[in-house]
Amino acid sequence: MTGSSKQDPRARELLIERAQRPLDDRELWELRELGAEDDDSFDFAAASVAVAMTPGEQMPEHLAAKILAQSPAAASMLPAQIRTLAGVAPPRPIVEAPKPVTDIAHAREKKRSRAAVIVPWLAAAACLMLAVGAWWWTRTQSPANVAEAPPPSKAREELLAKAPDVTRVAWTATADPNAKGASGDVVWSQREQRGYMRFVGLTPNDRAQFQYQLWIFDKNRDEKFPVDGGVFDVSSTGEVIVPITAKLNVDDATLFAVTIERPGGVVVSKRERIVVTAARKS
């Protein structure tokens, strides 16, 4: 098992996450940049738990035959050999004598020319099925069929009313021109790991030019690596409420800061343009 006991804290967090859930493209890129993608120690730890705690079951025989047929070894085998090697009984007794190689080649050629006719039809059928499937999915996902999430303003009120540990901290605007006259607050529940940002008067952004990004500083993490709280847009100078989407667990939030970043956000901010901050007492 490869793994350094003294890892970069951010790399370590990403490796722990990778052992439990799929990382997004940015996180994978970040892991590569940190030179830690080959550290599989947390993956081995999770795999060892899985081995220890999972009772052994028999794999279905037909599945074993299918896997063997798909293996590189199958290229040199005939179907009957595959079934035999996989320990699967053939569906009926094989009474035919093995065909000469030339017959097999001929059969393969015939199969290929048949495939040339059939494949375009199959492709067309698959496209049609996809189109029907997409139409059906769109219909089933209509508002009537989906339990609608409450709007951010309502969800924020609910969090404020119900989460016992919720805190609300007012934003402090910086001297950045986009922050002139900006106010609002940030609401955060440590226990539920969610929260909302409320802004009034923050300059609306053109998402092709730049986007806003939230950073959450955690008492238990290196301040060089605050947790990414999500990239977002501001569409009006009126009240705007944005849900916080923390990419990692936040143990003890001490500071929320919003920066201006390139479209799509960044993995590590240069902190050149900070617009608002909110310090939270831990």
């Binding site: 999770a46 081995v51 052994g56 279905p60 798909q70």
Partner: protein, 182 residues
Amino acid sequence: MHPAAGTAEASLLRRVAAGDANAVRECIAKYGGLVWSIARRFELADAEDAVQEIFLDLWKSAARFDPNIASETAFVAMIARRRLIDRRRTRRRRPTTEQLPEVAIDQAARPDACAEAAQAARALDQLRPEQRRVLVLSTCHGMSHGEIAAQTGMPLGTVKAHARRGLISIRAALLGVTEETP
């Protein structure tokens, strides 16, 4: 060096990498049950598709297996879990109506499967019951932290902390190092 290094167990994947057709068959016979069992816990409905993908990955990765780093069993399980986690990238959220497989949390089912499993089982015994439960649901059943929170009634933050600290403890036990501050 890993305890399994130098044992006969270590040679099967290397034979697969060398193109030995019999080794492929032996590999399916030896690890098919393990991979099937793990896949069934992650994906009850699509386990067959998942297992086929896992073995395709295994054939491709066989040459990377190093018996000095891990046992073959742990390596196979790691490849399996990686594929299953990766499948979740495109899979929609587990339907709430899908029945979850039974979860054996209290004691290890197969601590003798390989050296790492034995170490992991001992380390699991040292964890608090709720921490162990979260870790098993996460690592063996592929449940997201949100799903675990919904099933156990624990707050999401607590679930995340248990999973994180539990995994750090298991890794420390496997590496034989003192646990780092979580």
